[in-house]
Symmetry: C2
Subunit: 148 residues, 2 copies
């Protein structure tokens, strides 16, 4: 029903793990604007993102197929179909999902779309996703410089 | 993880079909505030709601278990696990879900939470969900009177 797009572009070495994620933007396909809904497929070995948390956006995930490992700090938890997790805005505990199984895994992710600017902090890296001076979204080091 | 609550209270006869729906408020349980996420269980014969549309709120549903019938005007469509549907705010085509199967069905529903006031129009009935003069949510007839 809608084109799939591949890959995250985090400009750090750990970002390689998320390059193969595949997202279908379902909410956009239905014309929804208040929040984003994506169907995400992770092949074995692929990550959802590098560990991160959001300043302003609530995040919710629902596993649809396969087995995912939720990594939050030093804790891990296996999630299967029917399991879900929520990450309120401002919760400064980084998290991400990894497919450590040998089969594809699929989940639904829901995220806020707010008029104020969300910043995403990739806690294990010197990296944040921010609004750049020209208004576009991009990446910055903690000292404000470009990660190149 | 969170208590379940039963039943819709639409004060019309057709509302009886939705009295047995069971909702778990997952988003609230995780402390999310930007949007609502509910896990809804419909036993055989039970409806999600009476036919309706929202003025300001986007709605998205994802089937998790069982088979549901999406009813939108004179059209019906069967939805199973993996299927989803979206209803943008202001789309004045009424819809609801019915469980016409002989087994329970489970779906995830996501709805906006906006600071401006949403009105829900139950298109087949002389009924709207509105903000009452005292600030609470309630029902009104189209002429503004109380449905009693």
């Amino acid at each position: 029903m809608t084109g799939a797009e591949s890959g995250a572009d985090h400009p750090v070495e750990a970002g390689l793990n998320a390059r193969q994620r595949v997202k279908q933007r379902l909410g956009d396909a239905f014309g929804l604007t208040d929040y984003g809904v994506n169907r995400v497929t992770l092949a074995p070995g692929v990550w959802s993102s590098i560990p991160h948390f959001h300043s302003r956006e609530d995040e919710f995930i629902q596993v649809l197929e396969g087995t995912l490992t939720l990594v939050s700090g030093s804790e891990t938890r296996q999630l299967g179909p029917g399991d879900c997790a929520g990450f309120p805005a401002g919760l400064d505990r980084p998290h991400h999902l990894e497919n450590r199984s040998d089969a594809p895994a699929v989940y639904l992710e829901i995220g806020s779309r707010r008029p104020d600017v969300d910043e995403c902090d990739y806690a294990g890296e010197d990296l944040r996703a921010v609004q750049l001076p020209d208004g576009r979204r991009g990446y910055a080091r903690r000292n404000g410089s470009s990660p190149g």
